[in-house]
Symmetry: C2
Subunit: 463 residues, 2 copies
């Protein structure tokens, strides 16, 4: 049951006919009646220039990638604070978070047999390094975990390569997360995976892995899709494969970082909050433009646009760049803890972490009656084709507050190429399009503004 | 005027009506009547398995890239000779060619200012190296040659980066070829280009460059599209850019190589030849699968297929893997010279060097009457959509014999992604599709077989 009921009614055909044939009776305005003109202004303003893309390019060119614990991440946060202040946002600040500090160091994978060749590789985040001088061992190639189970006796003392084609991220990422554990259980000395990627031009893709607490910790790395497939073909031909893996990765003591944020303070209920953003940290390859500088920038630009157009909603809109999404989620959990007392007054959380591509609408996790309201708001974006609102939204950084009852939302975008670039050296600003980003800024601005401006907060699920 | 006239008539509507309404009068068979069933057999056989792709994968997995002068190239040629003999081809041999030997050595480009970062780069083939320790200099970014001309005074002592977006290969490759010359004329110490690529996932693309004889020889390298664009944005923001370029490239004395070939000897006129193939050398990145192991393999597989189906044409079909296409064209010129006395009896030369993608037909350079004949042959491939025959075919390796009057042809293929992979680490076997390669094998087999089997040779342009 919803905790509150929205006074807004769905704009029906009957309602439309009424306005066409007779003076409207006294009734609540529909969302369309009240906000369509504002939405159209926001769309026009967001598409008038390439401000969002330019800001993304400047942020990523200036600081490069922003791995948790790196100086680049903290300098990027300093810059965002200064720029948000220049934009006139209120309550601009960095809220302290201690984050893990994993450093890659020099690394390489060399094919020794059947012929010498350098393999395109990236160590996985969180992996231990190899002993000094590396690990040189025969490679056992398996197509999935079941094959390793069947051939476990062959794995002892070898490097196990899981050459698993991409299906869905959820299914395939299991190998990135667990390859080292599974290989170590079979007595292997290192684990390799085929990069988790839906297309490849020889770019390896990194990402987080973890060890279980029981087995030995062996190094883990991703090969490019092409290199993994080649080793698999060699194995299928009966060739003996030897690889030399060198990784100087290590985990240093936790380091200070910050969730960075700024606000457009509400005119009537400043203590009620729509929070939106993305994560400001990235992996240490490419420049983390798609994942997820773009998410931070579109939310930030949405608020800048509202302010520039003089649109101050009833409630506060808070832009957040969460830290350490990639390898710890410490930013999302720290936000939950630092804001515990005000989470009941968090009306909505929106996270853009699927790439700042062309928006098609939003996905939403909340009550049925709240879904009906955000669907009406979505229709304001029909002109840019961003009017589809379905179930299932959320994001890693807003997960912890969503679990405390905050309705959660994420943009639905044309993300067909997301896993082409994800966690790879190819994640750079050019992969996002200025006009598509402008549309996403408009969609975020309209959704956040209207939710923040409605007379009543979005109805929550009763807890 | 054509030297000879084909006895084959174009199959007209009138002809078709005749066959439908009355017994055919005594006349020459059309190409369709004589060869359609054979063409269909070849198509079915070529699509029955993935033999061509498997051979491509084995060749490229086993030897990797095959730069002129490398041991890998010569070992690949040895293997091809052995395999062609196993296939039962006749007159299998390697014809000696001395080739240039450029070696890349260790190389890197580091962004020093405005922030430290490793740039994705590849030295250009033929470039000199940097002095030991590299060259560290400020970067002047220009968008084209005209901008360098205008700003020549700023170039002295700097590294010039030509950040030129891809338009056509012909236009854009001018920068790869000449950047070092143009930059040196303005007093620059090194030249960089944006990789010549129609799409990028941070892969740099190499390729041949050359020096003019008048100016100093400065090192030249390609940055990835993404890195070049980033440096250009930094320059547009007024930032001072410094790069440290290290290249240990050098040119060693010429080395022995070979044009590798084998034949299906003609049953009636073995001294008349249809020659077809691709180049077996490649750049020293990726595995040169698309450029151009695939071209060699589809021609070779076409002949193997003809032999397997017992199809021995009137004339000889010779498969050639030319050497040193990439940085010298010594294979193509050596073939011309070694076969000078028989070039008058070369009926047709076909080169596949546009990627072994799905075929749409052929392009042809020869007499109008020969074009009419090969268009009829092309129609035999309508079932696989490879029946379009237009003007303009040829290839680098068959250029020297085409200039001596040999009609020249190349497959037209769905090569939209050709310049995604060309001369880059992403040029690997997976970029070609087994079924598409099977279709191309069929198209090459049908075209070569019918041209080799016609009662009269293709009519040449009179010289």
């Amino acid at each position: 049951m919803p905790r509150t009921r929205s006074p807004y009614v769905v704009c029906t055909l009957a309602g439309a006919l009424l306005t066409a044939t007779a003076p409207a009776p006294a009734r609540a305005q529909t969302i369309a009646e009240r906000y369509q003109a504002t939405a159209d202004r926001l769309v026009a303003a967001a598409l008038a220039d390439s401000a969002a893309w330019n800001r993304l390019a400047e942020l990523t060119d200036r600081f490069g990638h922003r791995l948790s614990g790196s100086e680049a991440l903290e300098r990027a946060i300093d810059w965002i604070i200064a720029e948000m202040q220049r934009d006139g946002l209120a309550n601009v600040r960095g809220e302290p978070v201690m984050v893990p500090r994993w450093v890659r160091g020099e690394e390489s994978a060399e094919l020794v047999r059947p012929r010498p060749a350098r393999l395109a590789m990236l160590g996985l985040g969180g992996s231990v390094g190899t002993p000094r001088g590396g690990i040189e061992a025969e490679v056992l190639v398996v197509g999935n975990r079941e094959e390793l189970d069947r051939r476990a006796a062959e794995a002892r003392g070898k490097i196990v390569l899981f050459d698993v084609p991409f299906t869905t991220y959820g299914a395939t990422v299991q190998y990135r997360t667990n390859a080292a554990t599974w290989a170590a259980q079979a007595g292997a000395v290192a684990a390799l995976i085929r990069s988790v990627a839906s297309y490849s031009m020889r770019s390896p893709h990194t990402g987080a892995m973890r060890y279980d607490t029981t087995g030995p910790r062996i190094p883990a790395a991703a090969l490019s899709v092409e290199d993994a497939a080649m080793l698999h073909r060699m194995a299928n031909r009966g060739e003996r494969i030897v690889v030399r893996l060198v990784m100087n990765a290590e985990t240093l003591p936790d380091a200070p970082s910050r969730n960075v944020m700024g606000e457009l303070v509400g005119r009537e209920r400043p203590d009620e909050v729509v929070v939106m953003g993305g994560h400001i940290d990235s992996w240490d390859v490419g420049t983390g433009a798609m994942d997820d500088a773009g998410g931070v920038v579109v939310a930030w630009e949405a608020v800048r646009l509202l302010r520039r157009l003089g649109l101050q909603p009833r409630r506060t809109i808070r832009v957040v760049g969460w830290t350490n999404e990639e390898n710890g989620l410490r930013g999302g959990t720290a936000y939950r803890d630092a804001h515990a007392v005000e989470l009941d007054r968090h009306v909505l959380a929106i996270e853009s972490d699927g790439g700042a591509f062309r928006p098609r609408g939003f996905s939403f996790s909340g009550s049925d009656s709240a879904l009906a309201v955000v669907r009406q708001i979505g229709r304001l974006l029909a002109a840019i084709g961003a009017d589809s609102v379905g179930r299932g939204g959320g994001g890693a950084d807003i997960g912890p507050i969503s679990q405390r009852g905050v309705p959660a939302m994420s943009p639905m975008v044309d993300g067909q190429r997301y896993f082409w670039f994800h966690h790879s050296p190819a994640d750079t600003a050019d992969k996002l399009d200025p006009r598509d980003m402008g549309q996403l800024v408009a969609a975020m601005a309209v959704m956040a503004y209207v939710v923040a401006d409605l007379p009543e907060p979005l109805p929550r699920v009763r807890r």
